[in-house]
Subunit: 235 residues, 2 copies
């Protein structure tokens, strides 16, 4: 596969990689003038390009052709998940990017402990871009600022999304996925959602999703239920 | 939730935790004499127990009651996956344990690079146990020694498992899951399966599984397709 690089501006005849991407091209992949690369702007535009100039910190490419990649033909999926500790958050964002999840909202719940700082969320965008380079995805996954549980419920209902709540229970309590509607998936913290939160979500018509075997960690639940929802949203 | 500990022998009136589990009880959870715990032997027996004696490195518990937990009522799932680099292997085993996968075979393929050494596989059993403590799973996930692709195919066919191969392609090439049969899921290395391997698997009647959006990393593919298969095997 041709090496892929992120470049926010692909509108001109030339494209200049930022420092991170230039470093990857020059010092990890050891690319040089004349080498070909694929560029993506995160908004669905990709370009075939060739390196025309490099210095120690910067790569400039000439764009040969450009194409617009449409969004996947399916309803959107937003994941509102409590924040797992340490590297598990980074790993969760990486996997949700690979899968095709559209948006992630760090969720504040009654039993949540961690809350990512704004700087952390910026660094997560680097994780998103790195996963896009590897997976071939062309539209950015957006990581929002942390949000309160009740605000997420209200916004989702207001915008017509169907709510899905991952919460342990008997298999019979599992509720169906509606393939033709935009979806918002709620993933609770380590200690789970409180019964108050479960009732609150039920008031908004949230559908219950249950893993039939055991308790999943936050990041496992986010990936597993996103996979199950996306495969249904694709019809 | 009561703290859970692994103990291979729950047959007597008392149970003695090994060094790792004793350390977890004494120095992480700071438990002491009189505290209650749940024990599991990895073969489906669990016990309610109370700590009756501790020293710096060892915990002895008195067993109060014992119960046998049946295996999940579904066909089995074995995952034969190329070995991802570094910590991604540990993370993959952790998630497959949480999900309920029965067995993992590190897969040698034409494009595989990593091959875990025997010592590494022993350490992965510690990952399995740690995931079982947290997820409530009671039957060990078995991590086998690394095996050649062709041997895996032959063994699976010989034991009547249905083969599933995760390999990119057009959505129309996706083949159905047979819910009532034991399953073996093949996950290729970073560069993918070779066309020779794809043909070889097709000769054994392997069903093709396709993720409709982009290329998944080894450990992401293993988790995603295991989740999709298990949710179908549960019917």
């Amino acid at each position: 596969m041709t090496a892929r690089f992120y470049c926010a501006d692909l509108s001109g005849a030339d494209a200049v990689l930022n420092e991170t991407e230039s470093h990857h091209a020059l010092h990890v992949l050891r690319m040089r003038e004349g080498d070909e690369a694929e560029l993506f702007d995160g908004g669905g535009i990709t370009a075939e390009a060739v390196i025309e100039q490099t210095d120690r910190r910067c790569v400039r490419l000439r764009i040969r052709s450009r194409r617009t990649v449409p969004l996947p033909q399916r309803p959107s999926l937003t994941v509102a998940a409590a924040v797992p500790r340490g590297d598990r958050l980074r790993s969760m964002i990486e996997k949700l990017t690979e899968l095709g999840v559209d948006r992630v909202i760090p969720l504040r719940t009654q039993r949540s402990v961690a809350d990512p700082r704004p700087g952390r969320i910026d660094r997560l965008q680097a994780t998103v871009i790195s996963a896009m380079k590897q997976s071939g995805r062309n539209h950015l996954l957006k990581v929002e600022e942390a949000m309160e549980f009740s605000v997420v419920l209200r916004n989702a209902a207001g915008s017509g999304q169907v709510l899905y709540m991952a919460h342990p229970g008997r298999a019979a309590e599992q509720q169906p996925v509606i393939p033709e509607r935009d979806a918002l998936l709620l993933i609770g913290p380590e200690g789970g959602f409180t019964s108050e939160e479960v009732l609150q979500a039920a008031d908004y018509g949230a559908h219950r999703l249950i893993w039939p075997e055991g308790i999943l960690r936050i990041e496992t639940a986010a990936v597993v239920f996103s996979a199950l929802l996306l495969s249904r949203l694709h019809g």
